[in-house]
Amino acid sequence: MYKIVKKRELNPTVTLMEIAAPAVAKKAQPGQFIILRVDEKGERIPLTVADYNRESGTVTIIFQIVGATTEKLNHKQEGGFIQDFVGPLGVPTHTEGLKKVAVVGGGVGCAIAYPIAKKLHSEGCEVHSIVGFRSKDLVILEEEFAAASTRLCRRSDDGSWGEKGLVTDALRKLLESGEKYDRVIAIGPLIMMKFVCKLTKEFDIPTTVSMNPIMIDGTGMCGGCRLSLIQEGRRVTKFACVDGPDFDGHEVDFDEAMARGAMYKDFERHAHEETCNLFREVESHA
């Protein structure tokens, strides 16, 4: 069992938790992830390591409430326990030799983009962060990003925070104004990453994306997380949990990844409704 030592709501649908997991905290690096199971009947879900503290032996996770499991996790309180917490998994994000990088984060993907921006910034790299949210209420990690970036561009879909527009619009503006990056690192919804890659392809800038397919074990034993890369015209299958989660965005078959991500949509919707009803019932009896 793993103790929740801290819980904080970042916005109405996004929660931060610090979990006591010394073995994970000792080795975790930006870009890696963990897999957790809330309780005995729980499923295994992957979440990115948002931060870690090697001294206190804690790992920070940030999650959006999107379904039954994240709903159940969010009902756990500070001081409570979760059943299983395993990691660090996946390959850390490569940052060596990068001098100037644009970090693009969309929505809760910013929780994954932030530790990478922080690491790059601390290594002396010039970091331009472009972060986007649907609206002001959903903004997370604003101060953290400001502290970890040489330049910060804020965007929201409805204009309630920063400038109105998409992260791709902001990135295009920067690129068209003549900014040159060694690399663009994009993390967020698949559709966002797809369009960032389309744009950077135009400008011929190497682009890393962090993929978030369905996972079970996270150790390379099932291939549930597989995705296709197109390398020199050939289709190559990779397992995101061991080969990634970072990939060359110009090689990823995003359309296939989006289709695969929707595999259990009906089950998930149903499970989420049931969980919500269950909590409502419990609360009405309390």
Partner: protein, 464 residues
């Protein structure tokens, strides 16, 4: 007076049309009378060929003699000297190609039901004998075991009995390896596996779950942390795919994924949070035990039609004969001498069919098996909405890639000295599927035993 019946005592089992709708154990096991009666078929012959057919050399005629007298606990004790997991092996060993293959009674009629008798003795013991095994006196040596599958558990058990302080590191949240994520409940009830693991814990074996060696800790760190020897029993869990078009469509699973969802995550139970596709028509590609398990699980999840698609003929099916028999009884359809060419998808990216080719058997290849050859122009489409690939697995590269100087075969198997299990790294041993590639539970156990003996000789040989 020996029982000269030419046939084995039949094992009572659930009716095919009942059991293919539930996950309860298919074979129900002998009664005491049936066990004694079957034990009397053993002739207790002098040269004991059955013993040499058993990879861990259980003294088969000795335990059977005890059973014939009705001394079931005595029989269990004979088995326990050689095998750490008899309730498991009695159920999942391919006896027809091991102990029972060499049984003298099999020359004319059926061999003695050795596996069924082993199973009976183990179940009898597990149900009645409650006292914990005696905790051995610590000898002051520490050994780390990576992986809690059959090889790791056996190695850990043997070392613990000798007084070693053993820690087993398991990547998943439940110990047991393939016994918990791979082999389904209807063939191997998980309570039995848990019982055998609890026995090890009572002997002092520590099991640390959620520990991925190669990520959270490396083998070098284990050695620096005071473990004097390490046994790698990490198995062969990396699934193979065919690299045919359409393999990444929704509805194509590796057998590992499908079985992990079903067995480890209990996706078949209504209370489980883990989803699984309840397909209508399923094709399972492959002919081994894993393929049979996947097909029979798919049927139990409610599939109307389940096909085994295998490129050779019935004779070459690598699965246990009993499982093939059970699968057929349960309505699994065998499409033999057929090979998939591509998987077809609909506009949403879901599987809607699988194009196959008919095959014929050509000349024998290097392994002596006749090579399947495609029949030109024989393409046909199997109408399915789910495809499960059960064409084999290879060792996971994680340990190899994070352990300097650990030599492996091109295909990933760890290279070891056969007699000891010692790898190219001093004090690092390996065994089971991590060395051989996907094989059997009992062979993995044998390798765990060999390594435990070698580790003991290395660490205590001079003292004792």
């Amino acid at each position: 007076m020996p029982n000269m019946s030419l046939k084995k005592n039949e094992m009572p089992s659930q009716e095919p049309n009942v059991r293919n709708k539930n996950f309860k154990e298919v074979a129900l096991g002998y009664t005491e009378e049936q066990a004694i009666d079957e034990a009397k078929r053993c002739l207790n012959c002098k040269n004991r060929p059955c013993v040499s057919g058993c990879p861990v050399n259980i003294m088969i005629p000795d335990f059977i003699a005890k059973m014939a007298e009705g001394d079931f606990e005595g029989a269990y004790q004979v088995i326990a000297k050689s095998s750490a997991l008899p309730a498991v092996c009695g159920r999942v060993c391919p006896q027809e190609s091991q102990c029972e293959k060499l049984c003298v009674r099999g020359k004319k009629g059926e061999p003695v039901g050795i596996g069924r008798l082993e199973r009976f003795a183990a179940d009898w013991h597990n149900e009645r004998v409650k006292e914990a095994p005696e905790k051995p006196r610590p000898n002051g040596h520490k050994v780390a075991v990576i992986g809690s599958g059959p090889s790791g558990l056996t190695c850990a058990g043997d070392l613990a009995r000798l007084g070693y302080e053993v820690t087993v590191f398991e990547a998943l949240h439940t110990a047991g390896g393939v016994l918990v994520y791979g082999i389904p409940e209807f063939r191997l009830p998980k309570a039995i596996v848990q019982k055998e693991i609890d026995g090890l814990k009572e002997m002092g074996v520590k099991i640390e779950t959620n520990m991925v060696i190669g990520r959270a800790l490396s083998i070098d760190e284990l050695l620096e942390d005071g473990f004097e020897a390490v046994f790698i029993g990490s198995g062969a869990g990396l699934p193979r795919f065919m690299n045919i078009p359409g393999e990444n469509l929704k509805g194509v699973y590796s057998a590992n994924e499908f079985l992990t969802r079903v067995n480890l995550m209990k996706a078949y139970l209504p209370g489980s949070d883990t989803p699984i596709q309840h397909a209508k028509r399923v094709a399972v590609v492959g002919g081994g035990n894993v393929a049979m398990d996947a097909a029979r699980c798919a049927k139990r999840l409610g599939a109307e039609e389940v096909y085994i698609v295998y490129r050779r003929s019935e004779k070459e099916l690598p699965a246990r004969a009993e499982e093939v028999e059970h699968a057929k009884e349960e309505g699994i359809i065998f499409k033999l001498l057929n090979n998939p060419a591509k998987i077809l998808g609909d506009e949403t990216g879901s599987v809607k069919g699988m194009e196959c080719l008919e095959m014929e058997l050509g000349e024998p290849d290097a392994s002596g098996r006749r090579r399947p050859v495609e029949k030109q122009g024989s393409e046909f489409v199997l109408d399915v909405d789910c495809v499960i690939m059960a064409i084999g697995t290879s060792p996971n590269p994680l340990i190899k890639s994070t352990t300097q100087g650990l030599e492996t075969q091109k295909w990933g198997g760890i290279i070891v000295e056969e007699e000891t299990g010692l790898t190219s790294r001093p004090n690092v041993y390996a065994g089971g599927d991590a060395v051989t590639g996907a094989a059997t539970v009992i062979l993995a156990m044998g390798a765990g035993k060999t390594a435990a003996k070698a580790i003991h000789e290395k660490l205590c040989g001079k003292e004792s």
